[in-house]
Symmetry: C2
Subunit: 197 residues, 2 copies
């Protein structure tokens, strides 16, 4: 048998990452061993640093390295606009578009009867409290266009509609999107929301 | 802007792993932060351990945690059979089939005029020396069924044919197929039906 030691432990752990299976984990570990100084050691150090420093923002649920995240702490951002997203990956996607300059609120998932996820399992009570306490003029519900995402958006809208203006992202054909590759629901939504040129 | 700190460093490094791009690296890092105790810290520790201990076997080119790998050090394995593979991933694939009980020799690639890889860039001189020095009765050329793999097999066969019996894996390895993509049964069948060259 080959040496079942640290190398196999590392392969087993790598295989538990989303997007990697046993085979790609083995490939990745061989690559890491070949690039020990350039990649393996820096990666080990970065993971150790993140394990020590990463935390959830007490205010919005974003991930950062302080109790209050850099976005919540940034005084140049607008307090009036609050963008509600399902998870931190969605927040990062919004930030990459580089167009939104307000604040965020990360729910941590969507309502799901099937998985017994109710409002209290998400950051919905905290959202209602922020709308009450902060000077928020508009809440943008940037939830995914899935059944659970839209169910969650409707629930939040019910909670907040008397307190604040509510908007959602426009639905339509993505930039560069080809009609032939879009699902019927997207085409229907884009057609229903058609604009005069 | 969000906190460009250890978390972003970790994402950048993860995106350099084979099979992961920027998007899957971000997903993986969020997953790691959520599973800090169960996955992130163990992974950081395993990487640190592998960075400290992993080395190439001086005899066969396998990767292990000692100067001579566990396969070369295993006295229960047959010394007479030597299986030549392109890289360590192929050796691991052979081992998973659990049918070969001889020794290995890892070339570290294939001959390639295009990439200026000649015999001396591979572990071919060491292979010739092992055949001269060790009591090897048969060399199994388990190279990939690619053009470069087969060119390399022919070159090695020319070097060794007067000194030792040479075999190759049987048909059953698909044309253009790489060992590391094959299921264990295919490898077993191909090994059992190996032919004299
Ligand atoms: Zn925050
Ligand atoms: Zn060895």
């Amino acid at each position: 048998m080959r040496d079942r030691t640290e190398i196999d432990t590392l392969i087993d752990l790598m295989a538990r990452l989303p997007g990697l299976g046993p085979r790609s984990a083995r490939r990745a570990v061989l690559h890491l061993i070949r690039k020990r100084a350039l990649l393996l050691t820096p990666l080990a150090d970065a993971m150790t640093a993140v394990a020590a420093s990463a935390r959830e923002c007490v205010n919005c649920g974003n991930v950062g390295t302080a109790d209050v995240c850099a976005i919540c702490a940034d005084e140049t951002r607008s307090n009036g606009l609050l963008c509600v997203v399902e998870d931190v990956a969605d927040l990062w996607a919004m930030e990459r578009s580089n167009v939104f300059k307000g604040r965020y609120h990360v729910l941590g998932g969507t309502l799901s009867a099937l998985d017994s996820i109710g409002p209290d399992e998400l950051r919905i009570p905290q959202l209602v409290r922020r709308v009450e306490d902060e000077a928020i003029s508009e809440v943008i519900l940037a939830l995914n266009a899935t059944v659970d995402g839209q169910t969650t958006a409707h629930y939040i809208a019910d909670q907040l509609e008397t307190r604040v203006a509510l908007t959602s992202l426009a639905q339509g054909v993505p930039i560069g999107g080809e009609l032939d590759y879009l699902d019927d629901g997207t085409i229907t939504a884009a057609l229903n929301a058609r604009r005069r040129i």
